[in-house]
Subunit: 434 residues, 2 copies
Amino acid sequence: MFDQTPQGAEVIARTKAPGRPRIVIVGAGFGGLAAAKALGGAEADVTVVDRRNYHLFQPLLYQVATAGLSPAQIATPIRAVVADATNVRVLMGRVSGVDAARRVVRLEDRELPYDYLVLATGARHSYFGRDEWERFAPGLKKIDDATEIRRRILTAFERAETEDDPDKRRRLLNFVVIGGGPTGVEMAGAIAELARRALARDFRTIDPRQARIVLLEAGPRVLAAFPEKLSAWTARALGRLGVEVRQGKPVTACDEEGVVVDGERIPAATIIWAAGVAASPAAKWLSSEADRAGRVKVLPDLSVPGHPEIFAIGDTALACDGSGQAYPGLAPVAKQQGEYVARLLRARLAGKAPAEPFRYRDRGTMATIGRGAAIAKFSRRFQLTGFVAWLLWGLVHVFFLVGFRNRFTVLADWMWSYVTFQSGATPTTGKNSE
Amino acid sequence: MFDQTPQGAEVIARTKAPGRPRIVIVGAGFGGLAAAKALGGAEADVTVVDRRNYHLFQPLLYQVATAGLSPAQIATPIRAVVADATNVRVLMGRVSGVDAARRVVRLEDRELPYDYLVLATGARHSYFGRDEWERFAPGLKKIDDATEIRRRILTAFERAETEDDPDKRRRLLNFVVIGGGPTGVEMAGAIAELARRALARDFRTIDPRQARIVLLEAGPRVLAAFPEKLSAWTARALGRLGVEVRQGKPVTACDEEGVVVDGERIPAATIIWAAGVAASPAAKWLSSEADRAGRVKVLPDLSVPGHPEIFAIGDTALACDGSGQAYPGLAPVAKQQGEYVARLLRARLAGKAPAEPFRYRDRGTMATIGRGAAIAKFSRRFQLTGFVAWLLWGLVHVFFLVGFRNRFTVLADWMWSYVTFQSGATPTTGKNSE
């Protein structure tokens, strides 16, 4: 796709100020961007490499997939974020590997030398070896995933409207979400609200309120990372929204026609995968030790064993707390790890003593189910459900959105939707807009 | 893509209330949508057919292509627009032809019978027989065109940033717009402002302000539909924005490397086609008389000769005023024609006398060049240029945007951009977000 000549690497090497160490950050997700920002003004030349030229606020991606928000509202140009940090440069490009011996990052068309390397490459979906399911059940990681899922959801209603065969219409109005984690819960709730509120009045032949939304969780309960009480509350809240929650049974088949769970076939034209994630191939690049999900096992200071100059953070890393418990794949964990590595590198550059091991400060986790319904856990004793949790969820997410403009427009859209019951961005685009 | 059984047509026939005439409108652009809205509550079953489920506000599409607005801001779900008109139904589907003898519209998967047919299928680009140019110089008609052009523009800057070969970098920073009509002028101006303002601070190696934007017009002057004075003012205003305007010479070649005009080759990685449009194949469907651009020649009441029950409006039609002068392909013309046909049909249904021939009421035409610069023509005597014309252009376009929500968010985005010099939606998506 790019067509630079290989002397690229040399040029960058030459442009390096003499003696200034080079820090390369791969990936501009929560972890990588936090590291880059915290390294602004440091005595080093920092290069951020990402396949995209924007940072994606993934926690709200499901709202793009359900026509609540537009892609631009949850994406911020990386360059704009680090515009003031003149020692930080941004390269749009795809990393194909790392040569740890020669200390270079391999891009498609050049090499990027580093003195310190931060791998924040994130995670992708995992279909647990059933990759053939991806065609029928797309996952939700990228903006293109979200617009494709939105297209499928809205097209299903459009096709149902013109469908005369009742069985086919039934199938078009069935929506199956696989995976009862936060993303699956949020998707199922959002589809239910789209069908029961935003689209309710728009059709003549079908009644979108008759759409059947099924949330499938193979484990014993949804939101397994939360206390049982909150899982139970979530399942009830989903039920009130009209979502059919099935727990404790894995999906055994997934194809054109629908899914099979617990021996029963559920016909569905729209299937969404929210079940599994696997780390990006960073561990393979380093041929270092990884867990089954492909996460790089890192030392307490987040460096890769045998490579004190290489760090892995966020979903790329398997980091454990004092008690050997692995940290969860959450945005705040990635952020704090990025900031930690930046602090550690600043200390090293200043020749200071090695830093304390990384410790995650858990300020609480939340998940939203739908209009006026969310859960929040701050400690074993302090937990919230319902409207207050939902307000809090909204405030926190708007607050952490990158870029004031996004905060403003997202808040405006949410208020609008809350008052009018309409959704933000209903038109289908992508393949469909032709 | 759809999979309905052919009994579809029968079903629709059956669902038709006895004796109620069936009006089919093909296309939900300005003309078709105006007709559908004006037929709300009429004594007829109205069906709107469109390939998309949304109406696109094309006059602002160039702002999506230049990262000023998001697609959802200029697209309104058709169903929402006609939600209150219970006698109007919307079908998402692709029309493949018309059988005027049997009075049915052919969709991919079914037939749609009609008593009255309104063809509002709009126009596509025309490369004047050089269709091989489309690959290198995409046009701007659909949302996908706009996001693809945005991707190309922003990717060009990204690639230039990492490009070490000065010639290749030069080519990446050259932007050529072919065609000096309103779209071409608006695109050229918007790219210039994107480079000189929104992106100015974001890059380290390149200076986006060094981008070269060339607007090529084969005819003697840009905005040929406007008085010469305004064309000259526009060319000067573009010059002030840093756009190189070349008039009077056609493009003789267009390829991977760039374009050739007047014997000179201009290397450019990004080429945009704003030169020619051709009507959709409606004339072929009816095998009726058409002009070179493929527009159906219609009678003074906009009906197709020999088919008093078929009407063609907007860019689909070649309609002439009393003096035999063809009406231009403008949104207001299409709108007024849609409203006229609706009135005419209501009169016919009520058995009233045939309507007056269609007359276009020209309330003025405008074009915008950039921040604080636009032109407006209301009559031979009353014309405007500059800041006032620009404010007026903004007000008029916001006012005519379909949907209060879009009006609100677009206005908010414009004000934001005006104050901050930032553009609304810079991230590149589409193929690039992978």
